[in-house]
């Protein structure tokens, strides 16, 4: 078992192709998770009991089942009812839905954190529900949530190798196909780890900055 630098350079471009897909899937998944989470958080607060109960149940259901199972379901089972999604699209939806149920909790905490007086003041000013949310609640609730949301996005980034199970050619899948034809795992898999570490480290620094910038609740 020895490390072969020539082999590393030879497989480097292939792995970079995989990194691109990994980052793309994470970014798209994050955007989707951000919106899905917000939707779930708002629906759960709805005064319509049927809506809030059914969304709560769906969110608990998604959170209680493994992402890999959900990916298989989206990719292999949905075509039976006529929904045929491209592998990357299926992967992004899987990531977005799964992490959306987690980010919903972040939103919930953020919204609950807005002092009760603000709601009352909005009511006293005769603002509509829409105005209250758009101009009073969300602008105050959002900043403290940002570090927590970013944390989930880093977690999501590290879950992307699961997409290799539904034939998305992301980093892990590229490394596996390199290993398949070279019979060597040490370099490709070490490189996968190195790529993830490098990107995570950058993300962690960005997260620290976000925490300094937005982490404090302004009073």
């Amino acid at each position: 078992m020895e490390w072969d630098w020539a082999f590393v350079w030879q497989i480097f471009p292939t792995l970079v192709e995989g990194v691109k897909i990994t980052i793309l899937a994470t970014l798209l998944g994050s955007v989707l998770a951000a919106f899905v989470g917000l939707g779930i958080a708002l629906a759960r607060r709805s005064s319509n009991r049927i809506l809030s109960r059914s969304v709560s149940f769906a969110a608990e259901f998604i959170r209680g089942t493994p992402l890999l199972v959900q990916l298989y379901f989206i990719f292999y089972v949905l075509p039976d009812i006529g929904i045929l999604l491209a592998p990357l699209v299926a992967g992004v939806i899987g990531l977005g839905l799964h992490y959306g149920t987690y980010t919903a909790e972040v939103y919930r905490a953020g919204i609950d954190n807005v002092p009760r007086g603000q709601w009352e003041a909005a009511k006293a000013c005769n603002l509509s529900a829409r105005q209250t949310w758009m101009h009073i609640i969300i602008p105050q609730a959002l900043p403290p949530m940002i570090p927590a949301l970013a944390n989930y996005f880093i977690a999501m980034f590290k879950e992307t190798p699961l997409l290799s199970a539904i034939t998305v050619l992301e980093l892990m899948n590229q490394a596996k196909s390199v290993a398949n034809s070279s019979y060597r795992y040490i370099e490709p898999i070490t490189m996968v780890g190195a790529f993830f570490l490098a990107i995570s480290l950058v993300a962690v620094f960005a997260l620290r900055w976000l925490e300094r910038r937005y982490g404090r609740v302004e009073t």
Binding site: L84, N173, S177, A179, N180
Partner: protein, 280 residues
């Protein structure tokens, strides 16, 4: 104090090193396996080469032959683990299995990485396509020349390599985890063709029983490949013992009795040799 820990560390390392050396240095793998009572084999769950029944029983032509040969060598049982094709040779090298009996076809680069027994199962390649073969595939080159056509194959399998060698770009060769997924992906139109050996495709077709699918077999220009039991380099003695029993079984007709019910031709395996296949 510092020095003491260094010495202790060095002693520990030396001990580790001696363990590491003593493992593979025990030359007689066959005796080890006999004492252990079982051999660990890698399979793929791709009938009829290798199959795992719902109750976990391992069958298929390759493990059945291996089970019989190991029995004759005095090793009572085989313990199978399912692996992807691409992970078999690295797994063998890492000592996770003692032998690969999975329809891992002999090819020069594989022969260089492992030691093969004499040929066991031979088969040509096939394509699973939609009924009527709408894109008219007869060979892997046809897929390469057909704009945007995709082909599914097991990762690290012979078919993946053949498709790539025929000029199908990497992003149109889809790595499919297992036969059922491949079948489903053809049915759903995610891939235009799914490639496996002829008998495996036929087996899939039979189970799927879907009139909207068709088989192209054999694929034009792809040679008939044969697999063998693949052992780790350094286990040549075990391989040689395996070969002796395999030859005896071929001679007595018991070999044919095991593999022919699965649809394999014993004559095909007996008409060729490892030497020929490894240089093909």
């Amino acid at each position: 104090m510092k020095m003491k820990t260094t010495i202790a560390g060095a002693a520990g390392l030396a001990m580790l090193a001696s363990f590491a050396v003593s493992g593979p240095a025990m030359a007689d793998k066959l005796e080890d396996l006999k004492a252990q009572g079982f051999a660990r084999v890698a399979i793929a769950n791709e009938p009829p080469f290798t199959a795992v029944a719902a109750d976990g029983k391992v069958s298929g032509a390759a493990p059945d032959v291996a089970r019989e040969i190991f029995k004759r060598l005095g090793i009572d049982e085989i313990v199978a683990s399912i692996s992807e094709y691409g992970a078999m040779i690295p797994g063998l090298q890492a000592g996770r299995f003692d032998v690969v009996t999975a329809g891992l076809f002999m090819k020069p680069e594989r022969c260089a990485a492992v030691v093969y027994s004499e040929p066991v199962l031979c088969d040509a390649e096939a394509l699973l396509v939609k009924k009527g073969n709408p894109k008219g595939f007869q060979s892997y080159a046809d897929i390469a020349n057909s704009e945007g056509a995709t082909v599914g194959a097991p990762g690290g399998g012979t078919e993946e390599k053949l498709a790539l060698d025929a000029g199908v770009p990497r992003d149109r060769v889809i790595v499919v985890p297992d036969g059922q997924s491949g079948l489903k992906m053809v049915q759903d139109g995610r891939i235009d063709a799914y490639s496996l050996p002829v008998l495996s495709i036929n087996d899939l077709m039979m189970k799927a029983n879907d009139p909207n699918l068709a088989v192209v077999a054999p694929v034009v220009g792809a040679p008939v490949y044969c697999d063998g039991a693949a052992f780790k380099k350094g286990d040549e003695a075990l391989r040689d013992a395996y070969d002796v029993e395999l030859a005896k079984m071929k001679e007595s007709g018991e070999f044919a009795k095991i593999i022919e019910p699965y649809g394999f031709s014993a004559a095909a395996a007996m008409s060729t040799s490892r030497e020929k296949l490894c240089s093909q």
